[in-house]
Every structure is written in C-alpha cells, then in structure tokens.
C-alpha cells in the first residue's frame, strides 16, 4: 500500500485546523505539515458562524471579568486555569487575525469595534458584519496559501487513527476522488474535526458535522470528556434549523411568546427593559433561554406550526437601517428560507442543537492522554466552556487552542523519531474492513438513511433539553440495537470514484459511537448543571459532580465513565445570577494595547 509521511497531520481544515497548521509552520518551518480534510477547507463549518469572537478590548474591561463570565456561564464546570489562559490569549489571536487581513468591523476612528453578546457583562465581542466565521475562515485559508510547508489533502476522508507502541503514528484515509485507501504517517496528529450536531435531528450544523474526530479518538483508546453537555441555541428557524445569530438579540431583539409577552422575565432572567441589558433577559445564557422555551411549551404559551412549536423573535423596533448595517445576513436568511422580512414581521424561532461542549479530552495545550494525539476546536474539551458555552467564545477557542495544539504538536514532533512501518499492516487491515463491510458487501438489508433517522429520533427523545433516567436507559438500549443493525447495512454505490454513500455510512458509524457516549454520560451524571438538565435530579450537586465525566471504551467495546475533578483556581463555585441592574454601556473610543 502507498503511504506518505509528514511530521504533523491535521484532521480537519476549519478554524482550529488551519490556525494549528500556521502555528506549527511558524514554530519550525522545516516541519512537513499535512492538512487532511474531507471537504475543501473553505467549506468547513467555521464558515457559518455569524455572531462574533470575544476578546477583551476596551479599557473598562478586564481579563478577570471575561474569565468570570465564561466560568459562571459554564456553571462552574470550566477548568479555570484553561479559562485564564484562554481569556489572555484570545485578544492576541484576534489581533493576529486582523494583521492577516480579517475585515473586523470598526469604530469611526479606525479601532476595532466590539458589541454585546449573551452572558457577557461587558462588550467584548469582535465582529465582521454578521459573518464573522466566514471572514475568519477565509482569512485563515488564504493565509495558509502563503506557507509552503503546509500540504493539503483536500477531500480525503480519515477512517481510522493508526496507533502503535502506545502512540499515534498517523491515519488511514480514503482519497474520495479516486477511492484509493492510503496510510498517511505522521509523528503527531491533531484532530480538528468539529462537533457532532448531526447526531440530533434538528441542528444548525452542516452535513459534515458527524463527530468524526470524537469517534476516531474513542476507537483509538483516547477518552472523551463531558459528552452529555449539548448546547441548544435558542433561536433557530423551524424546519431548516438555520441559525439566527445571538447578535440579533445583542442588538436589541425581543423574544415573545404567543401573547406577545417577553416571557424570559418569568425565569429569573431579569426585568424587561426597552434596550438590551447585558447578562439579562434576551442576553442571558443559551441553556437558560432554551430551557425557558420548553417550560413555555408545557404552559401552552408557544405557537404551533407544522414544524413544531415556536416563539417569536421581534426585530421590528430596531429599524431597517440598523438591520441592514449590523444584521444583513439575518435579514437575507429570513427572507429566503422563511419568506419573512424581519424589518416588518416576527421571526419564528425554536431551540436547535448548535454546539458540543464535550469532546476529546485534552489538557491546556491540546494534548490528549494518548501520546502523539492532540485536539483543538469544537472536537476538543479542554474544558473552557464547562456545562454551557457563552456565545462568541467558540471562534477564539478555535484560534487559541488551535495555536496551542499546533505549537505543542510541533515541539512533540521535533523530538520524535520517524514512526516505524509497523502501522502499514494496520492500514491494510482497514482497507480490507472497508471493502468487506461496505464496498463489496451486497447482502445487507438496512439503509443508511433509516438507521440515521432512528438514531436521531432516539437521541432527541432521550437526551434533549430535559432528560430523565428511564428514557436515557431506553435510549442506550435502542442505540445498541442500531449498532447491530448498522453491521447489516447495504450500499447502493459500490464504485470507487467519489463514493459519498460510503462516506455517509462511515459517518453514521462515527455518529452511533458518539451518540452512545452522549447517552451514557448523561445517564451517569445525576444532577442538573448548565445544558444537562435532569428532571429526576433538578439541582446542581457540587459535592459529587463538580467534575468532568470522562468516558473511555473498554477492550470489550463497552463504555466506562469516570470522573475528573474540575480545576478551580480563583473562582469558587457560586450561583449563576442573571438579570442584574443595567450596566453603563459607553462607547469608549480606544484601541486594545496591553490589557
């Protein structure tokens, strides 16, 4: 079998992957860096992020406040040493992106403009119109074109990590264009494959978010952390699940129930004011807003539509000028996909799965317990987001931990000998598995789409916004059954050339593994914290559960959950309080300088 060799291999070419590649190339220009992505890098899901990226920028703001907002937003499950490093490096990373050409919005005097965002006490979210992720990803991608050491494997699908001698030595990947299956050897592998929203039926996530990296790590023996924490974003369009950015609420949008009432005031989120108040009402944290929606449904105060219950997002009072200046993409999406003009009409929205707080367990430098394996971005769980992520923390997370993982992997790779060829045998095994289980198999009875649909329905019923023991247990049982039925899958497409059906089958396999770990972790955590709400254990239990759930696969294939205490440095666990007095929202016109 053919094999190519590099020093560092990135799986995934989104925000975190490209940032890590650049970081590694800058640390040591002699390293050979491969970016292996199943889609072209500019198609990565980073591109769809809209709202913004948080980094302390104003003189009246401080790193401690950003850290506190993040930690309390995460319901104290965030590792505080990681958060402290994150808030310190975030402004530097965003500034570096500006130097690379990112078109951040500006104040009239030319300095970076920031805006308010959910859960943040001060205005610190940098933004590029309402297409921040798009501009960040394209800036990163265009910048990587400058670096010769970065070699791209576009549209190569990684099916397995190669592990030998206790360390990761590369991957097996299919070149989608030709169908060729090949080992790509590397001294260090960084997973940057993003989250797993497609495990759920209704999600903002693209088709490509199947938890590939999480499943690859789990199968290779690396642990996953905090898998039960799944974020529901409160405002997604019904049917498509397209995201209406939190920025719409940050600019002043109201959330109204059936009676035109700003219902969030009933849920300990403050008093309704005409202008947005930070950390209050519509600018509260996402988990609380989504939970409020479920309660409104139970009270019968939501609007029924053919695509489920919705509430309304009201932007009419913002005026056409502001909407065109600050929220043009939101207007375009509403008009196109909902046939509604937000300037004049109410937008129907409902909670939609958006982000995965959990993921591959890494330390503060992106290293997993498995030697040679690193992870960064949504696929990783460091953890800075804890039990609930604040909006605009994810894009700087990709940059900060992408850069850290890139540097750490570069240093690790510089100290390693070239991997031995023993893994090539594993690669041949993988090729045989793919051929016998999928490509050459003709006698299966199951169809990919039907198993996938059943998986999604099961996961939504068992691990939705509110969970309880019985449905979680039933769900895990159903998933076991689906894993068995998955072995009996038959493909229509047996060709080699660009076989997207094979790709879907492999992705479904990854998703089933990830779904199992979500349900198992949720079943074991007998408390309610952040995005994980148990109706049978409605309170937070710091005594037993101020810890990350760490899930690993045993040799026999079953999953084992253990707990790892959260690192607390300066902020002892407290009450999450939202809806305080309105804070002065001045527009101090100064730059960043040193904070």
């Amino acid at each position: 079998m053919e094999a190519s060799a590099h020093d560092i291999l990135l799986v995934g070419g989104g925000g975190a992957g490209l940032r890590a590649a650049i970081a590694a190339a800058e640390i040591n220009p002699k390293l050979s860096i491969a970016v292996v992505s199943k889609v072209y890098p500019m198609r990565s899901h980073t591109v769809s992020a809209e709202g913004g990226a948080a980094g302390v920028a104003k003189p009246d703001d401080s790193l401690d406040e950003h850290a506190y907002d993040t930690i309390s937003g995460g319901d104290w499950l965030s590792d505080q040493d990681a958060v402290e490093a994150f808030v310190k490096e975030a402004p530097q990373e965003l500034l570096q992106l500006e130097h690379w050409g990112c078109p951040w919005n500006r104040e009239p005097d030319g300095h970076i403009a920031v805006r308010a965002f959910g859960g943040m006490k001060k205005q610190r979210t940098w933004f590029a119109a309402d297409k921040t992720g798009f501009h960040m990803l394209h800036t990163l991608f265009q910048t990587t074109l400058k670096y010769d050491p970065i070699v791209r494997y576009d549209e190569w699908f990684v099916t397995r990590l190669l592990v030998d001698d206790g360390r990761v030595q590369g991957v097996v990947a299919i070149e989608l264009m030709s169908g060729k299956i090949q080992a790509i050897i590397a001294k260090a592998v960084i997973l940057c494959t993003g989250g797993c929203g497609r495990v759920f039926p209704f999600t903002t996530n693209a088709n490509i978010k199947n938890g590939d990296g999480m499943a690859l790590a789990l199968r290779a023996g690396a642990p996953l952390k905090d898998m039960e924490f799944v974020q529901y974003h409160p405002t997604g369009l019904p049917f498509t699940g397209i995201l209406i950015t939190e920025a719409a609420r940050a600019e002043g949008g109201y959330m109204l129930n059936k009676d035109g009432y700003r219902y969030l005031q009933d849920y300990n989120l403050g008093r309704p004011e005409p202008k947005p108040v930070l950390r209050s009402m519509e600018l509260g944290p996402r988990d609380r807003l989504s939970q409020a929606f479920v309660k409104e449904v139970q009270k019968g105060r939501t609007i029924e539509t053919p695509h489920g219950h919705v509430v309304h997002l009201d932007l009419r009072h913002l005026g056409e000028k502001l909407i065109n200046a600050r929220l043009p993409f939101v207007r375009e999406l509403c008009q196109k996909y909902q046939d509604i003009d937000p300037v004049k009409e109410l937008i129907p929205v409902r909670p939609v799965v958006h982000y995965m707080m959990g993921g591959v367990s890494t330390d503060i430098n992106g290293a997993t317990p498995l030697a040679g394996l690193f992870a960064a971005g949504e696929v990783a769980c460091v953890s800075i987001n804890g039990a609930n992520r604040l909006g605009s923390n994810s894009l700087p997370e990709c940059l900060v931990f992408g850069a850290r993982a890139g540097k750490a992997a570069a240093e690790y790779a510089s100290m390693q000998k070239a991997p031995n060829g023993a893994v090539e045998a594993q690669a041949l095994d993988e090729q045989r598995r793919l051929e016998s289980s999928f490509l050459n198999k003709t006698d299966g009875k199951e169809r990919i789409a039907f198993i996938r649909k059943e998986m999604q329905t099961t996961v939504e019923e068992s691990a939705g916004i509110y969970r309880e023991e019985e449905s979680l247990s039933k769900g895990t049982g159903k998933l076991r059954e689906l894993q068995e039925r998955f072995k009996d899958i038959a493909l229509d497409d047996h060709s080699h050339t660009f076989n997207t059906e094979l790709e879907s089958a492999l992705e479904l396999g990854f998703m089933l593994d990830v779904a199992e770990s979500i349900l198992q972790s949720a079943l074991q955590r007998k408390e309610s914290r952040g995005a994980h709400q148990r109706t049978d254990y409605p309170d937070r239990d710091d005594q037993h559960y101020l810890a990350h759930s760490v899930i690993k696969r045993r040799a026999d294939g079953s999953l084992q959950v253990e707990y790892l205490p959260v690192t607390i440095t300066r902020w002892p666990p407290g009450e999450r309080v939202y809806g305080q007095q309105p804070v002065e929202q001045g527009h101090a016109k100064t730059g960043i300088g040193s904070v």
Binding site: G101, R106, D109, G110, H111, T497, F498, E501
Partner: protein, 250 residues
Amino acid sequence: MADKITIEVARYSPERDEKPYFQTYKVPVHKEWVVLDALNHIKDTEDGTLTYRWSCRMGICGSCGMMVNGEPKLTCATFLSTYARFGEKIRVEPLRYFPIIRDLVTELGDFLAKLKKAQPWLIRTEEKPLAQGEYLQTPEELDRYKQFSMCINCTLCYAACPVVGLEPIFIGPAALALAQRYNLDSRDEGAAERTAHLAHPEGVWGCTFVGECTRVCPKHVDPAGAIQQYKLAAVLSWLKSFVTPRGQDI
C-alpha cells in the same frame, strides 16, 4: 402546485460510463423544499449512488453549486416551488466548464490554483508587531473592499463565464475579485506585485466584460465590476510608471 415534480439528473461514473447521461426521478413537492432536499430524498430513499457535494445548506459554504435548468445556482437556495408552480421539469447538471469527476461533482483543483495565483493575503513591506495593536482602518476604508470580500468560492461565476469555457487558462472572476479585494484593502501594500502577475491576457485582460459572473453571483460580489476597476487601476499604474521612478508609489 403539483404534488410531484420530475427531476432529470446528469449521471456519470467513469468506471462504467463513457460519457454523462440523464436519469429521471419523481420527487414530492413541499413548500419549503429546495433542490438539494430533493436530491437528498432521492439519495436516501431511492438511489444511493447519486453523488453530489453539499454541507451547510444555508448558502455560505459554497459546496452545492450546480446547473439547474441551464443556470448556475446554489441548490440549497433554489426552491422547488419556483419550478413546480409552472409545471416545469427540473434538470440538474454539474457546473459548466469544469471537468466532471462523477455525476454532479466537478474538479476544483485548477480553481484553487488560480485563487493562489491572485496572492490573496496581505502583502506588506513591514509587519506591525502585535503589541502595537491593530492597523487602523476606518469604516469608509472597510467599505471600499467589503463587497469583494464576500466571495464564498462557489464557482458559479466560472460556470457562467464564457471566457473560462473557451480559454481554460483564464484566471477567472472569483480569483480576480479576490485580488482586487486585497488591492483595495487599506492595510495592503502589494497591489503592484499582484498586478505584475495579473495584468496579462490570462489575468485581467482576458475578461471581455460579459457580465454573467455578476448576474449569477449568489453573494452579490460583482466580480465583473471588480475586474473592470482592476483594469482601470492597472492602466493608470502603467501610465504612472512612466512618470514616477521605479518602485515609487504616489
């Protein structure tokens, strides 16, 4: 509106076929369905061999460009009802002027090489250290190039441009618009360097201002406008070079 619509899809598998042919399917019509939903329905329930690219389904990733009834479109933003209303058939083909790998999947390596030729990064003689903060840029300066920075690389403009079809060496609308985006960025100092490579028949001067690229662009980038502006700028800087000494920038 009819409850079913006929879709003709171009098929091609290099392992079996010598050239593309059409296969017909019937798909239910829902008010909210786009062409992409129809293709997914076929692939999930009827024919798993149907091959195409897609990802975000909200018009921002640029994966799902295809020819729909002869027009380059993003299939995630093209509603079935537009065609079903008039009892039309829908014909889906891969984007024009690109080599076809399989079914509706085109080869994009050449396009990416062309993007790189535009040198789409900030070129500066001296980098400002991070500790000194950001490069100042007023909202007016941002507005000058903002429109050209909206390109999602969907390549619909390449499928619309006859020059791309007739002269494959032409660098194309998206690449030139991207070059102009950086030329107009107040933080960039590399316009001369880029223009040295692009003021050629396969670059800017290959464009004959057909204007189709601008018409089909789903993000209103106006690449045709960018290219004509670039032509003007290239001519002016060429004239200036006779007056000013080498390397001087007035």
